[in-house]
Symmetry: C2
Subunit: 605 residues, 2 copies
Amino acid sequence: MVNKVKRLLIGRPMKSGAIEEEKLGKLKALAILSSDALSSVAYGTEQILLVLMAAGFAAIWYSVPISLAVLGLLTILILSYRQTIFSYPTGGGAYIVAKDNLGVSTGLIAGGSLLVDYILTVAVSSAAGTDAITSAFPQLHDHRVGISLIMIVFLTIMNLRGVTESASFLAIPVYLFVLSIFVLIVSGLIKLMIGGVHADVPEIGTAVSNISLFLLLKAFSSGCSALTGVEAVSNAIPNFRKPAERNAAATLLMMGIILGSMFLGISLLAYWYGITPNPKATVVSQIAESTFGRGILYFVIQGVTALILFLAANTAYSAFPLLAFMLAKDKFLPNMFKARGDRLVFSNGIIFLSIMSALLVIVFHGDTENLIPLYAVGVFIPFTLSQLGMMVRWFRIRPPHWGIRLVVNTVGMLTTLTITLIFIFTKFAQVWMVFVFLPIVIGMFYQISKHYRNTADQLRIDLHKDKPVIKGSTMVIPVAGITRAVMNSISYAKSLTDNVVAVYVGFEEEEIQKMEDKWEEWNPGVRLIVLRSRYRSVIKPLIKFIDTVEWKTAETDHITVLIPQFITKHWWQNLLHNQTSLVIRAYLFKQKDVVIATVPFHLNR
Amino acid sequence: MVNKVKRLLIGRPMKSGAIEEEKLGKLKALAILSSDALSSVAYGTEQILLVLMAAGFAAIWYSVPISLAVLGLLTILILSYRQTIFSYPTGGGAYIVAKDNLGVSTGLIAGGSLLVDYILTVAVSSAAGTDAITSAFPQLHDHRVGISLIMIVFLTIMNLRGVTESASFLAIPVYLFVLSIFVLIVSGLIKLMIGGVHADVPEIGTAVSNISLFLLLKAFSSGCSALTGVEAVSNAIPNFRKPAERNAAATLLMMGIILGSMFLGISLLAYWYGITPNPKATVVSQIAESTFGRGILYFVIQGVTALILFLAANTAYSAFPLLAFMLAKDKFLPNMFKARGDRLVFSNGIIFLSIMSALLVIVFHGDTENLIPLYAVGVFIPFTLSQLGMMVRWFRIRPPHWGIRLVVNTVGMLTTLTITLIFIFTKFAQVWMVFVFLPIVIGMFYQISKHYRNTADQLRIDLHKDKPVIKGSTMVIPVAGITRAVMNSISYAKSLTDNVVAVYVGFEEEEIQKMEDKWEEWNPGVRLIVLRSRYRSVIKPLIKFIDTVEWKTAETDHITVLIPQFITKHWWQNLLHNQTSLVIRAYLFKQKDVVIATVPFHLNR
């Protein structure tokens, strides 16, 4: 049953050899890796204007230079990530680059913040998608958490089905979004040129009395949240079709150009239209309304914007499992993140990401807006560390033209570092949590690593010196009566060794006498030892007896506790039997160095 | 830790021999077995008046003859249960009497309704106790479910501590209640005699225009709900000190006299004071206020009434585990109800009763008033069956004076049957559920019984013909690498038989080659079989391999699957290891007829 549902939801298992077919071409990669970055267009300009409005309407002209600065930063990031891709063709996420050049601890800082960040991405995006839906259908407002969770479940299933399949399916809304935003920008520009817009906007350069550097920096850093998601491509190189690094670099460039032109277009239109933030209508929707009126095109733009906000989560679904795999390979995360599932994706990473983000949605009742700054700072820390790593690398290996490459990364590092600091200073109330959870996550990484090292040390043998040795054998069979299950166990034990005792725990003299008589009558060729329990416990006298046996024979013998167990046909029938054997097993397993063998007796009625 | 908390809450374990000291004397027995019956005084008269008021104030004089009728019924019940006690000195609950004289199915009807009834008693009483508390402290009203649950937990702990201890502790409020009600009745009568009361009440015999037989019957049956709990003594004979039947009979008589005089006293005072039901003050509290004013005595009576309502639940805690024990002894309930816990009480019955009643409280949000009629009908069905059983018994064994005894039980049977029918006709909307759950419960009894019979048939052996036989042995060790745990397993297997194979499931040619080379280098004296898994599943190829082994050798050999398992020091470390061995074990255990042995390797770091 469970198996059938699984097949239906995620499809048939795939052979390991099929992995090359699951890799991504450029166009599909662009679709699933850029949805996070491109979705920023839906809110980036708005974030800038929101901050500027604190200084009054006259200040909105600053959005133009600030947007240009963000664009400049985007260019720097694209250039430096291109360098990273060619330097680390097998996968150049911030974790790898930082670990390789700045040491393991720095790598873990980068990796840890990215892991947490992807979880935040899913929570924030699914909440944003839900907001778009409940704006359209306000009667659903009470079911926000439920809708977000359904979205997460949907993304989980899509991603468990495999990379190419989800890419084919999810590419459509991404391309629709890009197309419709470009149509909007071009139409808006045409309308402006033919003089269809009559907005009275402050000229660029207008003096604004109460503007401060702090405010401008805050506006700039808010605009920079549009750049989250840019790192996704360099993390995902192993998912690209060969030649992976070339395809990845080309994809990154395409993404940069599309993102940059969309962001600049929307920012300029917003300025020329004189649009101000409005809690009831987003900047993009105001531009669309001014351009097209409330017609079909307006609603198309609203719809695809909602979709892309929701799909931004999908970028995390590509990046998180890969990063978890790399950390698990280095023994900083549990082994389970290394296993590929039926459809060749890292299923455990996908499922873990879903569970954690679902928990966030539930804990925050779907109000995840406050997490956005946290999420931005969580991206810019690894950005900075990755660039710093690249700088060290150029110094170390000094390839041809390393000077110019060093400059690119240095400029990138300084800019992202500055933005990180701006974030911390201007939004400390919302980002301080990063300084709590990062040390916890990194401490966890080291704990895990230590456990794996300890385990390996204890399990390791010397192939030449350590060989299996032959010892004697003692078998103990706890019996509760004379049954077919007991008979099978004795048959089994006597087939292996002559050293077998049966142990019976009795409460009352009468039943003990009866058992002893019956045993003698049966005479199975095995001695029966009777333990008297005055406190009506079966476990304690038995454990004490096994202790004695262990103390006497552990040196020379392997000790086996043989548990006759009948297995009922239906699960509910287990309620009808005292599960003493399970308790014995659990206790011995945890406490004793004895082999526990279960001799099954399957009831067929 | 768990053990320490357990000791603190329920005390040290007791030796089986101490059971005689745990038995009850008459006074303690009266306290814990009569709290259910005596608590009826708090609401019995009120129930009658509530029905009569439908015909107007003039009808309240009917409460006097109706109360006398209830008193008559009480006398009949006490007399017939006395006969039962002497006929069944080892315990004469309705289940035993009905089963013995009317057949198993009838016994199960009586037993089933009583079991369900005790659960209802606990739910209803804890809710009634909670209502008393929240009347005094209205700010606690939102925490009603929580308070009820705390009460149930308290009763559970008291009862798990053992019978005498709970009796000593719980006797105080019961005797306080009896004392204070008698003080109230006597003071009230004195006040009446010295002429301190001037109520204008309808004289007995006044014609009431709109009274109907239906209404009178309904009022009578409502009054009869005061008689629930009378059967508790005859169920609990095994809990009495020797001579058990004499002590039980004396206790029953005392209870009857106390209950009867209290009930009659309250009913007469209510009539003479001209008291009518009032949602804001109970009949007892109105009498107390009229007699004492709102002084200390008034509040004492309110307090002990609240306590006794809550303690009524405790009667169920005495009766339920004993009845469950008897049903389990007859294989109609799971074995676990037969075990005496650390304190010599039937702990599983106590815990089960608590869980079920807690669930009822939760499901009904603490509003369990609607369950009261259901609970009354659930008592009168076994009352009737038990009397009918006694009638059959007198016919069957015909002891001296059996005629008069037959008459007593016949009158009792007819009366309780009538009341059952009145309940069903006048309150069908509230009691129809009994016809749904009784068949379900009885069906369950038979299912359980059938399972035990089937199991016994399959496990039974002929002591003379069936003897253990010696067979060959094949051991299969699934290995994931070459570790100390694997070495221990091979040592163990080779110590028992020469027929050992190690099985390795590999995903990629490279790792398979590496494993094979290492194995050859190690040369542990055991053949390594490599299974290739193209779908990355460890379980499936392994199961297929074991199938093959089983098909080839099951006739001649015992097959053992030996699972090397390392046991981590802390539970959380288990998350760091793929629990493949557990999955293998669970699958084999359920599906295959092979012995599963776990060779432990305890990690100490």
